[in-house]
Symmetry: C2
Amino acid sequence: PRGHVTLVGGGPGDAELITLAGRRALAEADVVLHDRLGPTDRIDEWAPGAELIDVGKTPGHHAVPQREIERLLVARALEGLRVVRLKGGDPFVFGRGGEEVHACRVAGVPVTVVPGVTSAVSVPGAAGIPVTHREVSRAFTVASGHVPFSEEELAHLVGLGGTLVVLMGVGTLPHLVAGLRRHGMAAEMPIAIVERGFSAGQRTTVSDLGGILHRVAEVRPASPAVIVVGEVVRVPETFGCEDGRP
Amino acid sequence: PRGHVTLVGGGPGDAELITLAGRRALAEADVVLHDRLGPTDRIDEWAPGAELIDVGKTPGHHAVPQREIERLLVARALEGLRVVRLKGGDPFVFGRGGEEVHACRVAGVPVTVVPGVTSAVSVPGAAGIPVTHREVSRAFTVASGHVPFSEEELAHLVGLGGTLVVLMGVGTLPHLVAGLRRHGMAAEMPIAIVERGFSAGQRTTVSDLGGILHRVAEVRPASPAVIVVGEVVRVPETFGCEDGRP
């Protein structure tokens, strides 16, 4: 039998926010490689009888390196197995999906990609913040904060306007805030940090560029968190509810 | 009984790319307002017995105006009904979801939002193009091409680099291409137009800024289409397959 690999975007963490196609791929899987960013609460139910391999960081252990994940995907598929790589969000939004597709193609292993609900849009939305809103923002930029932005990137982000969404950016937040201010973004520009979106512990911290670092020192936000900079952050206020929820 | 409204992001069109939460909301709905952008092939099966209201453009008829859609949502919910507004993609990515949430809140109608798979990421992905890719693009900007970009926007889009995704941009493509070139983007910058993503008629046209307008005159792309500008357009080529599919 010919094996294959399916990359599944599992969405932002809530088990109900995976797609039907994602569920189907899991139900048919022989092997599932997962990590803490994907929806794993019901993985035993979703992929009954499948071999489950945790490739993420677990307490006391390092994450499996990316090249080793790719090697595992290919090796299991070449054994004739149906392999699912379950990811948080969407595989192509900072999910290294392109690298995994490439590894499969090079090895001659059939690979398909099931897109998912990206945290970049849905986590702000869970806090009541639309990334686009008529008369407020007609564009949004999604970036990784894993590495600090260059001066050029900061200058053009400020100039472009619209909404800025930063993933994996809690660690570099002071650099981002100072950089945006230095390139002329107003101290009054609203900013929100949404932690643990769609979990029981979801928490939204709203401030402005001038005040956010003081707020962060108080609330000490933890990863995973999504940062939103832009006038859309004020949209939920007009509904008169604190975090945009009903 | 108290009615309520649920905005459901139906994903990019493929019936398998709706979420479990979206399916659940449809299954419980008394009324569904839908249009041609959402996944409607199986709507009778998904929302059995529900009143179905087509608020989109149908041949010979205009679309229902946005304010009238909002009025319908609120009126049906105030009658005690469970109302679903089924949308294409995600409700907050140019989906006017924020306006519909606002209309419900103003009327005191409980409203929730179920995020969806956005076409901005998934349609390029269906053509094998990842919006982010290690060493190639660490950010992407999503914009509507409904109205032409300003000179300032064009200048900063060129300066920012990363991937540019334009929705509803086929009509303004000549303006976009000329504007990006005028602000210094290279004629060799790759550009792709992906029409009818996830349908049997999916078609990808790849060229560069210097050549795309000639290609467009030949292939005459139709809406809905997603335009991608950036080096990530070349990623599928490295797999040696024309449109990124296995």
